[in-house]
Symmetry: C2
Subunit: 294 residues, 2 copies
């Protein structure tokens, strides 16, 4: 069994990005600039955004954190989005989700200029990804594919079972895994709350990508000997042993499942760190105008 070390791979990719940025800057080019909008003080969101800002530093990016209180109006938030769309110094930006209920997340996403949409959530980027055109691929699916690639895991013709059909992970990773490319070219099955015989379907899989948000959902008897397991789950569960009072749990019963696998990602330290470097890579691509010429 090989443990997929997302932390090590992501550190390596950040170094690669930092080296490229140093070269760009040395040649007189502009330092990539990522802006992040954070609304309110949700603990998870605070942590994610702090990690993103830190990663920007490690990659040699400029970063700007824009904060709003939870009672910001939708119009104020949209005005800021439009301002960032117009700001030539900002290469890409994100609005950290979730947003307070009085604000339409979809409206915010669609107001972001798709050429600066480094989260890859705008319908144009989603559509272009599905068609197979150059685009900003959303960070978690991109991070998963990068792990498969760095560990040279064969995917062509593999049976890949995706658990979950969210817009952020399940659907896009399914779309990518079925594309005629590496990693990809897999026979993809998407399972969800209405799926029958889920355990049986999982047992067919050469690769399981679990993105349900249901702690330890995938048990050992659902996994074929030698399968590859990618665990996207990151649910906070109460813990008496951590200082914070909680810890992250994946969608996979790691202790029981790991011995059966050829490859498996841990939680934390698997997909999570890759998500952040994928955002960094998208920001670099935006700065280089490598996806959209203008």
């Amino acid at each position: 069994m090989t443990l997929i070390d997302g932390k090590a791979i992501s550190a390596q990719i950040k170094q690669e990005i930092a080296a490229e940025v140093a070269e760009i800057v040395a040649k007189g080019g502009k330092r990539p600039h990522l802006a992040a909008i954070l609304v309110g003080h949700d603990g998870g969101s605070e942590t994610y955004v702090a990690h993103k800002v830190k990663a920007c530093g490690e990659c040699g990016f400029k970063s700007t954190l824009i904060r709003f209180e939870a009672d910001v109006t939708e119009e104020e938030l949209l005005a800021k989005v439009r301002e960032l769309n117009e700001d030539a110094d900002v290469d890409g930006f994100i609005v950290q989700l979730p947003l307070p209920k009085h604000i339409s997340e979809q409206k915010v996403i669609e107001t972001i200029d798709y050429r600066k949409d480094v989260d890859g959530f705008h319908p144009i980027n989603v559509g272009r990804m599905s068609i197979g055109l150059p685009c900003f691929v959303s960070a978690t699916p991109a991070g998963i594919l990068e792990l498969l690639k760095r560990y040279e895991i064969p995917t062509k013709g593999a049976e890949c079972v995706v658990l979950g059909r969210s817009n952020i992970v399940g659907k896009p990773v399914a779309a990518l895994m079925m594309q005629k490319a590496y990693p990809g070219n897999a026979t993809v099955t998407v399972c969800h709350s209405a799926t029958k015989n889920l355990a049986e379907i999982c047992r067919r899989a050469d690769i399981i990508i679990a993105a349900l948000g249901s702690p330890e959902f995938v048990k050992a008897d659902m996994v074929k000997e030698g399968a590859v397991i990618i665990d996207v789950g990151t649910t906070r569960v109460p813990s008496t042993v951590t200082k914070s009072g909680w810890k992250l749990k994946g969608d996979v019963d790691f202790e029981a499942v790991a011995p059966k696998c050829s490859f498996i990602t841990p939680v934390p330290g698997g997909v999570g760190p890759m998500t952040i470097v994928s955002l960094m890579r998208n920001t670099l691509l935006a700065a280089k105008k490598a996806v959209y010429a203008d």
Copy 2:
């Protein structure tokens, strides 16, 4: 075994649309207007466009057919697309594919205003469909779902195997069949040229949607007793018994497979006529500004 009569269903839907159009016009509203651009004289394209123009008449729509010779430049074609984008009288329009090799189909598609893109090929419509937002759903996938609905075929939790991963049929129909809606909510597997054990995967399926363009590919031993078969294939094969010298063949070996099915679409007369009425429905939606307000 029930034969799914796409011809009868499509006739019924055209009547429903015509009734709605009559009502709109009686109330002083504008008659829906579909424009079609046809480049060159490909036999298949000529036939498709003629059927679309005829269907417009049956639905009470105004239609405009714009022809270009095969040597039209890309810029001339794009200029016409932009003109139709601006023409307030045109509610929706299509550019019949395929286009000559010197013209970028993707560029043409992306130049169409997505609010008039009744073929549903623009990345914005593809992306919105994937996310589950209101959009123009491309005609063939929409027609397939309409057939499942009109025949009240259960789809929730069904194993649905899609053969083919084209941007026009395979990928979008897979996206629709996995959505939390009816028809949909199925456990969807997408198979393609790299798939191993394809026959075995097909045998698991409660619903097979065959969109490979490979005549009589699906044989009886690949089909579970009681399965639902949707045959999207329409390959022209030589024939000595038809006046034209050819006939349409589906992706399914109909004679052998039909006796095992609970429902099956014939070719012709199954999915084909539904594709055209889906285009008509999209045009009606465009005229009513029911998808995009403006």
